[in-house]
Amino acid sequence: MNSKMSKLVAVLLALMLVVAFLPACAQEEPAEEPAEEPVTEEPVEPVLKTAMVTDVGGLGDKSFNDLAYEGLKKAEADLNVEIQVLESKEITDYESNIDQLASAGYSPIFAVGFLMTDAVAKMAPEYPDTQFGGVDEFFEEVPPNVVGLLFKEQEGSYLAGVVAGLATLDTFDDKLNGDNVIGFVGGMDIPLIKKFEVGFTAGAKAVNPDVKVIALYAGNFTDQAKGKELGLSLIEQKADVIYAAAGAVGSGTIQACQERGALFIGVDADQYLTVPGSGDVMLTSMMKRVDVAVYDTIKAVIDGSFPGGELQVFGLAEGGVDLAPYHDFEDKVPQAIKDAVEKARADIIAGTIVVPES
């Protein structure tokens, strides 16, 4: 009786574990579904097999993992390549995911997120014939088969700062108050996120020297409820425009803006499109074109011009970062603000403004 019981428990637990890992299998589906279309249309052998390993945020983060996947899908459609995605649920998955893809012959393999830097540095020498793209990864010495894909987030954030700094002085929307205060919500206080904060502050102060910029950090990239509390605190401090570089934490901040009346500037993707129903507060977004970087790298591999051993930096000039359209605020935002953004953009590209990054 007793051993029967414990066997039953063992079977039950094993079942639970199987179910627990189901999403990992399920999430490979989106990679396979679109693959069918080009094959039916033009039954040509794919030029190459490319893949990506997501960070722990995984697909659906509406941020850099999704954007990298966009780049892959575009390459699949335009360049006739086969694509594959492996999601990392834990930091310990990075190496085994890279290993799995490399031994299956995928190249280039994109490792998305700065947390994967060490895993790439370790696995790249083991697969010298495989090419790697490291999104947001900085290497002291770039291995010859790796390209580090970095972004000048501070430049795009500077433009967001220009918009926020001028908007808080303006009255084009009734959510804007008379106080000269704007807010920033960061995920973790790490150099990467600091670049967003510093660029944002520099942009705001350039057009509005007296503006008070309050920056709050959540300590992670996933806790939406914390993001909402941070937003409420900023609004209580009279901030009327809030810029969040905090992954899913930002969705909570959007909720705070909608409840208490403040404008929001999104990050990474054009969040007007990725967060449905946020149009009433979404002033604009700072887009980080991870998709462009990924697509360009795949193209370079096909052309035989893969920049191995280099760090590539995508700024405003390269189209790597930019502001999204104003969407619902297009008609409300005064021309003076739009002109100021255009001027700042031109000055940064021309090099007359150099945006600090720390």
Partner: protein
Amino acid sequence: MLGDIITPDLFASALRMATPLALAAIGGTLCERSGVVNIALEGIMLTGAFFGTAAVLATGNPWIGVGAAMLAGVAISAIHAFASVNLRADQVVSGTAINLLALGVTGFLMELWYGHPGTTASIQVLRPIFSFSSPGGGFLAEAWRWVNGIVFSHTPIVYITIIIAVVAQWAMYRTKWGLHLRALGEHPRAVDTVGVSVYRGRWVAVLMSGALAGLAGANLTIEQVGSFTENMTNGRGFIALAANIFGRWTPVGSYLASLLFGFADALQIKLQILRDVITVPPQFFLMLPYVLTVVVLAGVIGRAVAPAAVGEPYKKG
């Protein structure tokens, strides 16, 4: 400068952040008092958060969502009850399995139902119950700002939680059911000999903890954020366990302990506003709630005595 920190919203925010912790902690208290360890609170909360959101997305009615969240909590905790009461499995293993299961099932169903991982579309949320207008100017208006901010600015579940804490405390110490519950965790054999079913008593306690942790999930999604994100509970279930211990396995104690953790979290947010004045890295502020947890558990509260029979499966006969 202090005026920036000590605001009505500091206390309101503490209450808001304490609510999901307190609900799960009271659930944990009921469960552990009956002799069943429940480290599955995290997973149950996540399950409640997901099914609550799904129900609101399907029906458009937040209250149906709250009911669905509690039902989902009951359903998943039934697995824990069956494994730990009937099958006499190791309760920590069963709880861990449920935490993994919840993470997997919610992610899987999200793919299945909504076609994408990550975050769901936003849902209709429960609004604050009261909305009074401020009286005239001067001192009255200022006093009103505080009272209104701290007492009247909340959503329904925040108030319901306080009621639950008080009622559970009363039931645990003033009713026959409460006496049996406490005895289950201390000396189940004694309960058995007076003719009360140990299995049934523990089942009821585990299911109640499931309902409460599910309600905690509903508070997160249907009141606070208005959408579900994978793994959005972010360890709150485990902090709730600490609150249950800090509250010495009593419902009101659990509530007050959660309030302290909520206050520490609210305070660290407000302290970050003063970063220009107090120049320490924000990590120090972020540490505050956790340092507090360690400190109170390590010494200040003295020895916390767990129910004698907690974690021990009961074998009839």
